[in-house]
Amino acid sequence: MSFDVFDGTDTYIASDALSHSVNVAHALERPLLIRGEPGTGKTLLAENVARSLGMELISWHIKSTTKATEGLYMYDTVARLHDSRFGDGDVKDIKQYIKLGPMGEALSRPKRVVLLIDEIDKADIEFPNDLLLELDAMRFHIRETNEEIVAAQRPFVLITSNNEKELPDAFLRRCIFHYIEFPDTELMKEIVRVHHPDITDRLLDQCLEMFYGLRSQPRLRKRPSTSELVDWICALQKAGVDLSSVGGGIPFLGTLLKTEQDVELVTKRGMA
């Protein structure tokens, strides 16, 4: 197996450093932990890694109430009690009441898959620790049926985090880490072109100048990110706005800035 398995796709431009990290994690069979500003394409990365490796993607979106065991399997007690009451189904067969979670699915697939654990920092502070064994050994035990699920092929695990909570050291030790830096102008041009292939050079330059100008404003609560830039350009094109004719203001500011304070701040400084 060659080392360079990933180098972006036709719809996802990855920097060399990011591709390298993906390849390292792939070769070492370690989970890849991705951090970065919101909107820099952390979740999209998983979809595109799966696509370019020709693997299935299984996503596990973490919420604040998510528990580690839910990702492995759930035992549907209510359905079983219900069936026993009304005589539907074979109640003796516990197996049919066990539903595998995303991680359980990923481990039980015969082929190697990409498992995305999205926004792991949303969950309880102990959550990552509860998954240490499963991520290391890639196996787990179903108590109700006394079954052991062992991964035939270690899934390629991608984990994203927004830095809301600090992750435990023991968990970090097992991961390969990559921080997605905010793209520079050149990379950003490539990225925009992937989404808007027919954009003119002039418009693109103007957009980026405004966009980076906006980003460089101090004390913004949330600086606009790549995904917002792409949306903004989409809005500009749909509305057919010519940037040079709007007299220096930024049209569709709401697609770029998401809090009133930011809009107010920028308006006060005369940018919009």
């Binding site: 390849n23 390292v24 070492l28 604040s64 007690t77 023991a170 880490f177």
Partner: protein, 399 residues
């Protein structure tokens, strides 16, 4: 040789452990650095650095280590690669490389590493020791003692482990600096679980009972999930003698104010001692009369005060117009403190000042009013335990 790079990284306060180092070795043996220094840089950084804030330290370490060996880097990684593939070619290596080998015996490191892992799992549930180390792993004393791993010695594995563990513990004792995660972990215990709210959790025991009572006709019983009912008021001393501890207090505040942690959380600021008013902001703009605060607070709310309790005795003991004039201060600070302490069932004062400096200062007086703990990991845990379960109030002379 390359292992020095590990120590260079650790010298720059990066928490690199054997785990990462072994992964890096594995990566090198698979050629993931693509035989270039750039490749090595990215590989090493992806494996060794887990936080954006540490990237800079990594760069500094990388620069200082590789500035001289720039040209040799290729050869170096090749040598290492050869060695990894055939560890028996010892006699072909230079003295320097042999020395490196002695400190990096692959099998033994693996063995020790596994041992350590096992130990960590066992102790981890127990609590504070592992959290408190802040990444000073048993192997990790490299920063101060480059040969500290003691791998090559006869039967070195176990005794080195014990030795390392001892040293780690000693270091931990000195290390009272808490990070947000440690505080988070300690505050986790600050809870009173109770069931209220929407009933959306199946109560299996009740369901079985009710179904039996129903002669086998299924009767599903739901109950609300358990939630934390703890209400907390945090009072923080800011400014003056508290300035050195501002970052620490800030971390405590960050962890405590995290949404959803307590069912009710309020925080106020004061300077040196509590008088008529406390303030909603650290700039002392929005004042809240303490009398109002007390009137509006339930006795069962828990009060956590963070402050050094160090002040001029007059600030604490005298009423306004006495030796030391404090404006509007018609009631002595000590009296206000007593009122707060008596209103609430349980309070805890966390003091960042090391315990050995407590005696013969105003701290002693304050500690006779509020149960006081040092603002360290142990102190915080003991304070939380008291707030939840009550029990022994720490005695000052026990210090």
């Amino acid at each position: 040789m390359l292992v020095d790079f590990l120590f260079e990284l650790r010298r720059h306060k990066l928490k690199i452990t054997t785990h990462e180092w072994m992964t890096l070795m594995e990566g090198l043996s698979k050629g993931l650095h693509e035989s270039s220094l750039d490749g090595f840089y990215h590989l090493a950084r992806a494996i060794c650095v887990k936080d954006i804030t540490e990237f800079d330290a990594f760069d500094v370490a990388f620069l200082s280590y590789f500035k001289d060996v720039h040209v040799n880097a290729l050869q170096l990684s090749k040598d290492l690669l050869d060695w990894l593939q055939d560890p028996k070619k010892m006699d072909q290596l230079t003295d320097e490389q042999k020395a490196m080998l002695q400190s990096l015996d692959l099998e033994k490191l693996r063995e020790m590493f596994e041992q350590r892992l096992k130990e960590q799992k066992e102790r981890h549930d127990g609590g504070n020791k592992w959290i408190g180390t802040g990444g000073t792993s048993p192997f990790g004393h490299g920063g101060k003692n480059p040969t500290g791993i003691r791998v090559g010695d006869q039967g070195g594995g176990r005794s080195a482990m014990q030795l390392a563990a001892e040293r780690r513990f000693r270091e931990y004792r000195k290390d009272v600096i808490l990070d947000v995660r440690q505080i988070d972990m300690a505050l986790r215990d600050l809870r009173l679980l109770g069931r209220d709210g929407a009933e959306d959790e199946l109560d299996l025991d009740e369901t079985v009972d009710e179904t039996c009572r129903n002669a086998g006709d299924l009767e599903l019983i739901f109950r609300p999930p358990r939630r934390n009912r703890m209400k907390v008021i945090l009072l923080m001393d800011v400014g003056g003698s508290m300035d050195p501890y501002a970052a620490l207090v800030n971390r405590l505040f960050t962890a405590a104010s995290r949404s959803g942690r307590f069912s009710k959380f309020r925080s106020y600021y004061f300077h040196n001692c509590i008088y008529e008013n406390v303030y909603e902001d650290a700039a002392f703009r929005n004042k809240v009369p303490v009398a109002d605060l007390l009137a509006k607070s339930d006795r069962d709310e828990r009060v956590v005060i963070v402050g050094d309790a160090l002040m001029h005795p007059a600030e604490l003991l005298d009423t306004g117009g006495a030796l030391y004039y404090y404006h509007h201060n018609r009631t002595a600070g000590v009296e206000w403190l007593r009122r707060v302490a008596h209103h609430f069932r349980r309070t805890a004062w966390l003091n960042p000042e090391p315990r050995r400096y407590w005696s013969r200062t105003t701290i002693e007086v304050v500690a006779s009013i509020f149960p006081m703990w040092e603002l360290s990991l142990n102190g915080l845990q003991a304070g939380v335990r008291y707030l939840v379960r009550g029990g022994q109030i720490p005695k000052l002379d026990a210090a």
